[in-house]
């Protein structure tokens, strides 16, 4: 691809020079092509940004049903128009999408994507800082825009992900990012949320040998700490408010309190991570008591108390869907069914993979949820508009609507089905090549050369 471009560029030059020179240039071009071919097999092509008209597609708008034979016009990174036989004067590039489908980009509600390069190499992991009360640790700081897993993820139609710090009680501030950009700031979507690991009464993993008493003690201690922090915040809020009234600010350096203050005031969402039924109920009580703006995350036992969550009117980001039940006695498919049980009870549901390198499986997690009770239409919403609404960014993300950010993909079929291919991908209107390390290695090694003998 790159070689062709170079040859084209040099052609005019060739016509102006004599035959001898032409021979030399041809040789040079041949050599350059060789080098570039080698380079080509190891690098992902750059994305490009032009105004694009996608024509004659089946458009799955999510919010306005399915529109057949419809065009979508992307201009300046925005979905500028949707309709039949559009003919905008200013499009540079046209893609025939006959027999193809357009979906809004899929969005993962909880990952470590870009914060971890190689799982077992601890110095490449940036999601778990030391400390129990460190809400000022910002995920956006540690997202590597060039993480190899990012292209691997987006070629499956995933355009956005929440990147989430983990660890203690308040491990940091999560950020919702676009999966394209050369700096974290270019990737930022505008949403950030405080992460709270709600005090847990669970065993963590099968090798957690703590006694019931120890677990209860630790939970009680963590709960006291959380409540103490909130009392301190009440005071901090008062001081800050009075300082603001008198036109000054708090001088002392308290980054933790400063980070939590917007959440205390209900101006910033808290992502409350909790899984066990009883802990979820405690979290709901705490949300009611404090009046914070909250989303519950994880909620693997939501199926046991779905009505309580619905009554509290708190949205849920659940998943991974493909996971084992937390109890030996639980039905084998409770994790597959959790999203549908929550939805049927009236809870607004989004999904997360809680993964780093295999966030690409997000559509398949949703496919399992669809299969086990949720249905395809609702499952599509969990990856798009539901999450956008929870995060308060539905004016820009989560559906194919005029004026929204052009995060979308073109597929040759149902994106949950395994045989389906993603043909085109746009993030902020950038036309992203359907390439990743995985496709490049495939291209290089399917028919290795030299083969067995050199």
């Amino acid at each position: 691809m790159i070689c062709e471009v170079v040859q084209d560029a040099l052609l005019p030059l060739q016509t102006t020079i004599n035959k001898k020179m032409k021979y030399r240039y041809t040789l040079l071009i041949a050599l350059m092509s060789l080098c570039l071919t080698a380079l080509d097999s190891q690098q992902i092509q750059k994305a490009s940004k032009t105004n694009v008209l996608l024509t004659n597609a089946t458009v799955h708008t999510i919010t306005n049903g399915v529109m057949e034979g419809t065009d979508v016009f992307i201009k300046d990174g925005i979905i500028a128009d949707i309709g039949k036989s559009l003919s905008p004067s200013d499009h540079l590039h046209k893609i025939d999408c006959s027999a193809l489908h357009i979906y809004p980009g899929f969005m993962d509600g909880g990952t470590q994507l870009g914060m971890s390069e190689v799982g077992a190499v601890s110095l490449t992991n940036d999601y778990n800082e030391i400390g129990d009360m460190i809400p000022h640790m910002k995920a956006l700081t540690a997202v590597n825009p060039n993480a190899v897993a990012i292209p691997v993820t987006r070629v499956n139609g995933v355009t956005n992900a929440m990147v989430v710090p983990s660890g203690g009680l308040f491990p940091g501030t999560a950020a919702f990012i676009n999966l394209h950009g050369y700096t974290p700031q270019q990737m930022a979507s505008g949403f950030e949320g405080i992460v709270l690991n709600f005090p847990s009464s669970s065993h963590f993993g099968r090798w957690d040998r703590r006694s019931e008493e120890d677990i209860k003690k630790e939970q009680k201690k963590a709960m006291k700490k959380l409540n103490d922090i909130w009392s301190e915040l009440a005071l901090y809020h008062k001081i800050d408010s009075s300082a603001q009234r008198s036109g000054t600010t708090i001088k002392s350096y308290e980054p933790e309190m400063k980070a939590l203050l917007p959440a205390y005031r209900g101006e910033m969402t808290i992502l409350i991570h909790t899984n066990k039924d009883k802990d979820i109920l405690s979290a709901l009580q705490w949300i009611k008591k404090t009046g914070v703006k909250a989303i519950l995350v994880g909620v693997s036992e939501g199926y046991r108390i779905a009505d309580s969550i619905a009554q509290a009117n708190v949205p849920v980001i659940t998943g991974p869907v493909q996971s084992v039940p937390g109890r030996g006695a639980a039905r084998y498919d409770v994790a597959y069914r959790n999203a549908s049980i929550l939805h049927n009870a009236g809870v607004k549901v989004a999904l997360r993979t809680n993964d780093s390198e295999n966030v690409r499986n997000l559509p398949f997690h949703a496919g399992f949820a669809a299969t086990y009770g949720l249905g395809v239409e609702e499952a599509l919403k969990t990856l798009t508009i539901n999450l956008a609404e929870m995060l308060g960014i539905a004016d820009r993300y989560g559906s194919i609507e005029q004026g929204k950010v052009a995060n979308l993909f073109v597929s040759d079929g149902d994106p949950f089905e395994m045989k389906t291919r993603i043909k085109h991908l746009f993030i902020n209107g950038w036309n992203i090549p359907i390439e990743s390390r995985h496709t490049l290695l495939y291209n290089e090694f399917l028919e290795r050369s030299p083969g067995l003998k050199k």
């Binding site: 983990s166 899984n275 496919g367 399992f368 995985h438």
Partner: protein
């Protein structure tokens, strides 16, 4: 007389038990039968008698059998997982770089719920493997998912060839080199563990041969060594090697070692960089059992591709997709389908990855892995094509006995504590490498055990 009956009774009961592996009789009617070896047969019946498939055809009639209506459903061979650690209590005997003397068959746990969950994903046979802490790990055990039996012996697939776990790369290097400051700390060291063990086994065999061929009895018998016996059995071709491996260089290394010692029964496990040396694997006749898409969880799998299974298959390597995980084992049909997203395998090629191919890798292809007359009655029934994301396993049959049925799924589990006096909930750690049991039981050897 009565006395002698009492004396004989325990023996009689024992003999009964030996001969009495439970088998069933089932007639599956009118399904879409995916045979694997003979195409897809619409509206076809499959008859299982005494645990064996005896007839495949249309409008079969049979008395005294349970009849299962599979109209509008897909009937495929029971799924086989060539790499798991379920149904065993211990995974790693990590105390030495060579533990060929131990056998996970001695640590079978028929009660673990994971077996039932695997059945609920259509999996009827799995390869319970020793872990990857040692270059030469313990012997493994092929088990059938006879959920409900209580005798560990009944979980074993009797007559299945013996297998042993080998391991290359980071795991043995971390456990022994970094953790215990003994060889191997590098991939060079790993190679020499194999060369030393095989060379010593040759000497050992030679000593015994010399002793056995000397009828005069002038020689003293050599010391019996179970580790050496096992290594000698590998050299004799009686044990199939299943080798945990990732990088292309170490895969080539082991093939060179095996060539030097005349060993050819080898299935590489994980083999994430198998795609780089697919022609060499095919030429050697080595098999490959891979993940559908796991990568980047450690450095030696950083340069991976989810197209691995496709590249290996297209290069003529007999390939399977495995789980190595109590989560993935529940949807291997979905893992196999990933080869149609990452590559272009046909339906039959994709399903072979979880049926006939793993059977070949375990040396049990004459008994399971396809729906053929004479094979064992291991069947998985799905409501939609098993490679579709919308497929739900309906029923799983082992030796003609229904071991999972979606309609009574709620009744096959016991809540050990319905009143919740204690917490029975276990939260999965967000560190998803915790699902990988290849290094279970070895954490005490790590100073930094991320």
């Amino acid at each position: 007389m009565t006395k002698s009956i009492y004396i004989l009774l325990p023996f009689l009961l024992y003999i009964l038990q030996l001969s009495g592996q439970d088998t069933g009789d089932i007639l599956i009617k009118n399904g879409t039968v995916i045979t694997i070896t003979d195409g897809v047969l619409p509206h076809t019946d499959v008859l299982i008698r005494n645990g064996k498939i005896t007839k495949i055809g249309q409008d079969l009639k049979e008395n005294n059998v349970r009849i299962i209506d599979a109209s509008d459903q897909y009937v495929m061979p029971g799924i086989i997982d060539a790499h798991s650690h379920i149904g065993i209590e211990n995974v790693n005997e990590a105390s030495d770089p060579n533990t060929a003397n131990v056998n996970v068959g001695d640590a079978i746990d028929p009660f673990t719920i994971t077996i039932y969950r695997a059945l609920a994903g259509g999996v009827t046979t799995s390869h319970a493997m020793h872990g990857s802490a040692n270059a030469i790990g313990g012997q493994c055990q092929t088990i059938k998912h006879r959920w409900g039996v209580t005798d560990p012996q009944e979980m074993k697939m009797s007559g299945a060839p013996r297998t042993i776990k080998f391991a290359l790369g980071e795991n043995p290097m971390r456990v022994h080199g970094e953790g215990r400051h003994i060889v191997p700390r590098t991939r060079m060291g790993v190679e020499q563990i194999f060369r030393e063990a095989f060379a010593k086994a040759r000497d050992y065999t030679a000593k015994w041969d010399k002793y056995n061929n000397n009828p005069s009895g002038a020689l003293e018998p050599p010391q019996y060594d179970l580790k050496m016996e096992t290594m000698a059995d590998i050299l004799n071709g009686e044990i199939i090697i299943h080798c945990h491996s990732y990088r292309a260089d170490e895969i080539l290394m082991l093939m060179n070692v095996l060539e030097d010692f005349g060993v050819d029964k080898i299935c590489f496990q994980h083999v994430n960089e198998g795609f780089k040396v697919a022609p060499e694997l095919a030429a050697f006749g080595a098999r490959a059992s891979v993940f559908a898409d796991w990568w980047a969880y450690k450095f030696e799998v950083y340069y991976s591709t989810a197209y691995n299974a496709t590249i290996l298959t297209r290069n003529g390597v007999i390939t399977s997709i495995n789980s190595d995980s109590r989560e993935l084992i529940r949807h291997l049909y979905h893992e196999a389908a990933k080869t149609q997203r990452y590559g272009d395998l046909t339906d039959n090629e994709a399903l072979r990855l979880i049926t006939l191919n793993p059977a070949i890798q375990l040396g049990i292809e004459d008994r399971v892995g396809s729906i053929e007359v004479g094979k064992e009655g291991d069947i998985a029934i799905f409501n939609k094509h098993p490679l579709s994301i919308y497929a739900v396993p309906q029923m799983t049959i082992v030796d003609g006995i229904v071991r999972f049925d979606i309609h009574d799924a709620d009744d096959m589990r016991i809540d050990i504590d319905p009143e919740e006096k204690i917490s029975t909930f276990i939260e999965e750690s967000s560190d998803h490498t915790s699902g990988d049991r290849c290094l279970q039981d070895v954490y005490q050897y790590f100073s930094d055990h991320k």
